[in-house]
């Protein structure tokens, strides 16, 4: 039944034993080819995301074609499109709801840095509220750029130590409860 947080802590206490590193490798290999996405699509980049998943580029080749709209079943939070301040608490909530291990993929300039929307309503890069693993610039990025990012993420995941998990919740709490 999965791995509970307590077991993770034991692993962390044991440190870098050889067996654990080998296990990490196998787990990393498994994880890197099996991302279940949570597409958090808000804006223009979503159209490009359709293309990424579409026949021409085919995200499924990387084993990441199964979008799960329930955050519990997703591993990779694809933040696609501008995040406004109104949207930010929801993004944060979705991130907190995701089951470990989880990664965050910043898709497009708006998500990376706010892009051209340096104004009162736009979050200036989601890394101000969440930990982000890979940034893909472009407005919107070409599907090839997205795959570059995905390959980088796969590399990151393959070499991850299990002691990294759990990542826990986002460090911020919304100011207003709704």
């Amino acid at each position: 039944m999965g791995v509970t947080r307590e077991e993770r802590n034991i692993e962390a206490a044991l440190g870098d034993s050889v067996i654990l590193t080998q296990v990490d490798k196998v787990i990393g290999w498994g994880r890197k080819y099996s991302f279940f996405l949570y597409p958090f699509i808000t804006a223009c980049c979503g159209m490009e995301f359709m293309s990424v998943a579409g026949p021409r580029y085919d995200l499924d080749r990387f084993g990441a074609a199964l979008p799960r709209f329930s955050p519990r079943q997703a591993d990779l939070l694809f933040v696609v499109g501008t995040i406004s301040h109104k949207q930010a608490p929801i993004l944060n909530k979705v991130y907190n709801q995701m089951a470990e291990p989880k990664w965050v993929f910043a898709f497009g300039a708006c998500v990376c840095s706010g892009g051209m929307y340096n104004n009162y309503s736009t979050v200036q890069g989601i890394d101000t509220i969440l930990p982000v693993d890979v940034y893909v610039p472009g407005c919107p990025p070409r599907p090839e750029m997205v795959f570059d990012g995905l390959l980088k993420l796969q590399e990151l995941v393959a070499n991850e130590r299990s002691s990294k998990w759990p990542r826990g919740k986002s460090q911020y709490e919304p100011r207003v409860k709704r």
């Binding site: 958090f40 804006a43 223009c44 159209m47 359709m50 293309s51 026949p55 021409r56 709209f69 929307y117």
Partner: protein, 399 residues
């Protein structure tokens, strides 16, 4: 009557919060739904999750810097917004008739190409949310081919930033007409397959027909425009009512529905794709040669050669870029037919290089407003086709 029925069965109303991260709401809308079983008793729509301060940004920059922002209004059909904005500024400057004929035709072609791309996306996404993933991906590929055309002209797949005040960013590439022919031949196959898969499929028909219907009068009262209005049987299309660009010179049909339900909207959009192809083919046949920009250094940056060789041009180039194009005082409203409905730019200039106000009339805004009206009394599942056929584009609705 309804109350008594509820008392009899002693059902409890269920309040459901749908979105904004719900798969059917495109991430930008939240519905508060009161359900009696699966029936919608009351529905409220909340938008604004993609408010990106379009107007404030336009007021912040020069006239020509607004183009990238207009791209991202209706991002499915960026060239249309570019064109609409350029037309408004040109009209405000009183030089609408000085734009070269070739530019007019190229703009028409780009408008129609993006309309096709928009409808492909919209219809595809609608079927995706109704569960037919395969049909969706056929249209994604068709859109991909259309985008290839747009990219070969504009240099970007989605956010084209192609039109300029008094001209265009670049000329059509060599051999464009031939490529268009190839792509259209392929797209027609996809269109036919999509049509065969869905139009007469009873499952699809039952989902679409008589759901989300709006009467003619209600559609007018809610200021519907575009395919949704025409589906309700109102004969109104800006391209016909007040022809702009080259629409007066081409022959095409404007599909009109009868009942204003989702199925009519679907049919109207399907037909518009075919008509757009017709318009483009005619435009390509009529395409005049010549320049694509106004030869007026105060409006359109002069060519690079001239900037390098001519001091006056150089000064204009610097002034246009730094201070912005000087637009006389005044105000203007220019309606154009976007893929979702009337996209109108209302510009106010107080003189100088920056817009005082740059307002866009968002067709989706008015359409989304009627969601509660259209969905009342129908089932939870009917929200999906209705909302898809409204074609809410966050960038345009929330700006």
């Amino acid at each position: 009557m309804e109350n008594r029925h509820q008392l009899d069965l002693n059902t409890e109303l269920m309040v459901l919060n749908m979105g904004p991260s719900h798969p059917a709401t495109h991430g930008t809308v939240r519905f508060f739904i009161k359900l009696d079983g699966e029936k919608i008793i009351h529905m409220e729509t909340e938008i604004g999750y993609l408010h990106r301060a379009f107007e404030k940004h336009c007021e912040d920059g020069t006239w020509s810097k607004a183009f990238p922002y207009t791209d991202r209004l209706n991002y499915n059909s960026a060239p249309q917004n570019n064109v609409a904005y350029a037309l408004a500024v040109e009209k405000l400057m009183g030089m609408a008739d000085k734009v070269p004929a070739r530019t007019v035709y190229i703009r028409t072609i780009m408008c129609e190409l993006s309309r096709m791309a928009d409808h492909y996306t919209n219809l595809g996404a609608a079927t995706l949310e109704l569960g037919a993933l395969t049909a969706f991906l056929y249209f994604v590929e068709a859109r991909e081919l259309t985008w290839d055309l747009i990219e070969s002209v504009c240099g970007a797949r989605l956010t084209s930033n192609y039109v300029r005040i008094g001209g265009l960013a670049s000329d059509l590439p060599e051999g464009f007409a031939g490529k268009v022919k190839e792509v259209f031949a392929k797209n027609r196959v996809f269109w036919d397959e999509f049509d065969k898969l869905l139009t007469k499929n009873r499952i699809f028909l039952d989902r679409m027909r008589d759901t989300g219907a709006i009467s003619r009068d209600d559609a007018i009262a809610y200021a519907f425009t575009g395919p949704c209005l025409r589906a309700a049987g109102v004969e109104y299309d800006v391209r016909k009512a007040s022809p702009y660009l080259a629409y007066g010179n081409v022959d095409f049909d404007i599909p009109v529905g009868t009942t204003g339900d989702n199925f009519d909207r679907y049919l109207v959009r399907m037909e518009e794709i075919r008509q757009s192809e017709r318009i483009i083919e005619q435009c390509l046949a009529q395409m005049p040669s010549g320049p694509i920009n106004i030869n007026d250094a105060a409006v359109r940056n002069p060519s690079k050669e001239e900037v390098k060789s001519n001091m006056a041009s150089m000064i204009f180039h610097f002034k246009n870029t730094i201070e912005g194009i000087q637009v006389p005082k005044g105000e203007v409203y220019v309606p154009t037919e976007g893929s979702n409905g009337e996209v109108g730019f209302y510009l106010v200039s107080q003189g100088g290089g920056k817009p005082w106000k740059c307002r866009v009339r968002p067709p989706c805004f008015a359409l989304t407003q009627a969601m509660g009206h259209m969905c009342k009394g129908s089932f939870l599942a009917d929200i999906i086709p209705t909302f898809d056929m409204i074609n809410l584009i966050g960038g345009e609705c929330d700006r």
